[in-house]
């Protein structure tokens, strides 16, 4: 009991300490010993650990005798068998894409909360071109990209020309997109499953039946992993993420988009076309989400359902982007990580509900907000140690005298 008290006291003291130290500007406090990259990775890892501990705590409350088993399943299911790992990769492909969509927009100063609409339109373009026009998979992915780009362009356009906040346009066009896709699907008999012999009127046809060439190839990996889930989608996503990294950090184009995101006036002053930059940022962001839709529905595993709820996948991009620090390379990791523990979460059934994983992810995201605190603490410690050293030296000198 006393220990716990001590712990809290110590914690409170630390908190207060950091709280008081807010006079220091964080951007200024960059210590050579703790490069920003290093400490943000540390912070992310710490968040993950805290999130998992919290999850364990929750499992303990719900069912103490099974909590150990639960935690173990969360942690190892993803690599317990090849087919489980295949599932991780399968889920991470669209997740990385929507994460990239949100993260890319963040980097260029925009909040794309419309990834779900762009993803939906992308999915529709992919399925339409694949089923109705018989496109092969790569062409269907390009179609998905075009669809997403188109849907992303709209909020960009409204922002650039009418000064409408992209958040509101994105939200509105999420719904418009979904309803539009429903409408288009319903009026394209060929895209619906019952055209191909099924008895279901509210979902799209199976690609295996309608156009096998539109299924993303597996290159034998399905045999290797012994799972239908395995395909090359995740490699495409990783490749695109790397491209995005290069574009953002190594090209003049990325330089322009970021400049416009940080300071629109300055970018205009510097001769850049800010309207074009805003629209292009949204187009790219939308295209990424659209590809996500393509990558998911062209696996031949899922069918698009005519429903009245927004697809969750687009919104899932936000936590992926945030956990990955909006950095494309970070997003690869966070996308894979989130699907990894989600696969672990499914294995919690039937003892626990799989929603516990969502709670854990939420806690991890929340804890990553603490990264600043962790950074400050780390840097403070390092600085203090340095100072102590100096003091020591001085004392030593004085003693000599």
């Amino acid at each position: 009991m006393d220990k716990i008290k001590m712990f809290f006291k110590d914690f409170a003291k630390r908190l207060k300490h950091i709280y008081l130290s807010d006079k220091d500007r964080p951007s200024m406090i960059q210590n050579s010993l703790s490069s920003p990259g290093f400490s943000s990775l540390t912070a992310s890892i710490l968040s993950v650990v805290i999130g998992l501990l919290f999850g364990f705590f929750l499992l303990l409350i719900l069912n103490p005798s099974k909590a150990g088993m639960g935690l173990q399943r969360i942690l190892v299911t993803g690599i317990s068998a090849p087919d489980k790992f295949a599932k991780v990769l399968y889920m991470s492909a669209p997740l990385i894409m929507v994460g990239l969509a949100v993260g890319f927009a963040f980097k260029t100063g925009l909040f794309n909360i419309g990834a779900t609409g762009q993803y939906t339109i992308g999915a529709f373009f992919a399925l339409f071109s694949a089923i109705v026009w018989g496109f092969p998979w790569y062409a269907a992915i390009l179609a998905a990209m075009a669809g997403g780009a188109l849907w992303g362009a709209i909020p960009g356009f409204f922002k650039a020309f009418f000064n409408v906040n992209e958040v509101i346009t994105s939200i509105m066009f999420n719904w418009i997109g979904m309803f539009l896709v429903n409408l288009l699907c319903l009026n394209t008999p060929k895209i619906i499953s019952d055209y191909w012999g099924g008895n279901i009127g509210n979902r799209t046809a199976n690609l295996a039946v309608a156009n096998p060439s539109a299924i993303i190839p597996k290159w034998g990996l399905d045999k290797l992993f012994d799972s239908n889930y395995m395909n090359i989608g995740v490699f495409i996503a990783v490749l695109i993420a790397i491209c995005m990294f290069v574009i953002l950090n190594k090209t003049t184009f990325g330089y322009e988009l970021k400049a416009c995101g940080y300071n629109r006036n300055a970018s205009v002053y510097a001769g850049m076309n800010a309207k074009r930059s805003i629209i292009l940022s949204m187009v790219i962001s939308g295209a990424l989400a659209g590809i996500g839709g393509g990558l998911y529905y062209l696996t031949g595993i899922g069918n698009y359902n005519i429903e009245k709820l927004l697809l969750a996948m687009g919104f899932n991009g936000i936590p992926v982007a945030l956990l990955g620090g909006s950095n494309p390379l970070g997003i690869i990791l966070s996308g894979i990580f989130i699907s990894y523990i989600q696969v672990g979460g499914e294995a919690l059934q039937p003892t626990f509900s799989k929603e516990i994983i969502d709670i854990i992810i939420a806690v991890i995201i929340y804890m990553s907000a603490l990264s600043l605190l962790v950074k400050l603490t780390l840097e403070k410690l390092i600085r203090r140690r340095k100072k102590d050293k100096i003091l020591h030296c001085c004392e030593a000198k004085e003693a000599k005298k």
């Binding site: 908190l15 709280y19 807010d22 006079k23 220091d24 500007r25 964080p26 929750l58 719900l62 909040f111 909360i113 409204f158 009418f162 000064n163 409408v164 906040n165 958040v167 509101i168 346009t169 939200i171 509105m172 066009f173 719904w175 418009i176 309803f179 539009l180 429903n182 409408l183 319903l186 009026n187 005519i306 009245k308 709820l309 927004l310 919104f315 936000i318 936590p319 945030l322 509900s353 929603e355 516990i356 994983i357 969502d358 709670i359 992810i361 939420a362 806690v363 995201i365 929340y366 990553s368 907000a369 603490l370 990264s371 600043l372 605190l373």
Partner: protein, 330 residues
């Protein structure tokens, strides 16, 4: 004629949660904190108050004192929303975290928590929390004889009536007055525009921001309950994107109470007309098109965009929103 009374009546019913939650968002953003967690806060407010309602229903107390129970449920939804919102305040005020991070975490957490909690309370797999019948105030309770047909205004105002409606109107009025007429409101707005200025005259920016977020939690919590009552039946761990719609309504309303009020009504009226279109005589039915209803369902969103295109040139968010307050920065 009845159908028009219905349209207006339902518009009020569905505008109420939008107004509440958008006003909540406004309070928070006016203090400088972007609150995208509205959706999650609504879920929590609805969850806790619906659990309360179903508990007092089970105990029999509810049916004996229906409107006191609903009033308590409203208070509980406000309290739980406020507490939940404090997580956002802590992350974005004290920790100076990116405000979307806290918001996103809360949005993810809320429905998952709702499922886990309602299962823990109601048994595994039992997600729906049913709302007892007695929460509605019937026209009879207003003194309309049971066998008498309702007139236009009765249909419009009291046919489908919950205590949340007058509470919402009251809250709207209070918040509007507080924002513009009190020193609290002045300070709150100052913190969202120029926190350094507020700080330099002795206003506690942290305190004001906490207050703004707390208000948003309170309003969004009540909004969650109001939405669940309006939809009817039961709570199923979700508020179907209304939190985000409220965010949109807030932007649409340009962060100003009266405009938010108008925006919410405009949006709600089209949202209500959409499903009712087939029963409104003069509206086209698009019978040649499969799923013509979707054309109507798009309507509220399209109308919003059209209005925005014409009105947004001057739209202006609180200047300091989204930026963690740092005493030292100038």
């Amino acid at each position: 004629m009845n159908i028009f009374a219905d349209v207006l009546g339902l518009t009020i019913l569905f505008a109420v949660p939008l107004i509440l939650v958008a006003m909540g968002g406004m309070c928070s953003e006016r203090s400088g904190i972007v609150n995208i967690a509205l959706e999650g806060i609504m879920v929590i407010g609805a969850l806790i108050s619906c659990i309360f309602l179903s508990m007092v229903n089970a105990s029999g107390w509810g049916i004996a004192h229906p409107q006191s129970a609903v009033m308590l449920a409203i208070l509980i939804s406000a309290a739980s929303g406020t507490i939940y919102a404090m997580f956002l305040a802590f992350a974005s005020v004290n920790l100076k975290a990116d405000q979307t991070i806290g918001g996103t975490a809360l949005n993810m957490l809320a429905p998952a928590f709702a499922i886990v909690l309602s299962w823990a309370l109601q048994g595994q797999g039992q997600t729906t929390i049913f709302i007892p019948n007695w929460v509605r105030i019937t026209p009879q309770q207003f003194g309309v004889p049971a066998d008498e047909a309702l007139n236009f205004f009765e249909r419009m105002f009291i046919n489908k009536f919950f205590l949340t409606t007058p509470v919402a109107i009251l809250l709207f009025a209070i918040i509007t007055i507080v924002l513009y007429k009190t020193k609290f409101g002045l300070r709150l707005r100052a913190c969202g525009e120029h926190p350094q200025a507020a700080d330099s005259v002795g206003v506690s920016v942290y305190g004001m921001r906490y207050a703004g977020v707390a208000l948003s939690g309170m309003l969004a919590g009540v909004g969650g309950l109001a939405f669940t009552l309006a939809v009817g039946g039961g709570f199923q761990s979700s508020v179907a994107g209304y939190g985000f719609l409220a965010l949109a309504v807030m932007i649409f309303g340009n962060w100003k109470p009266l405009r938010i009020f108008g925006a919410a009504f405009l949006f709600a009226v089209f949202k209500v007309i959409a499903p009712m279109a087939s029963s409104i005589p003069f509206l086209p039915t698009f019978s040649g098109i499969k799923g013509g209803e979707y054309l109507y369902l798009m309507l509220p969103y399209l109308v919003t965009m059209i209005v925005l295109a014409f009105t947004s040139k001057k739209s202006r968010a609180p200047k300091a929103e989204g930026i963690p307050y740092d005493k030292g920065s100038r």
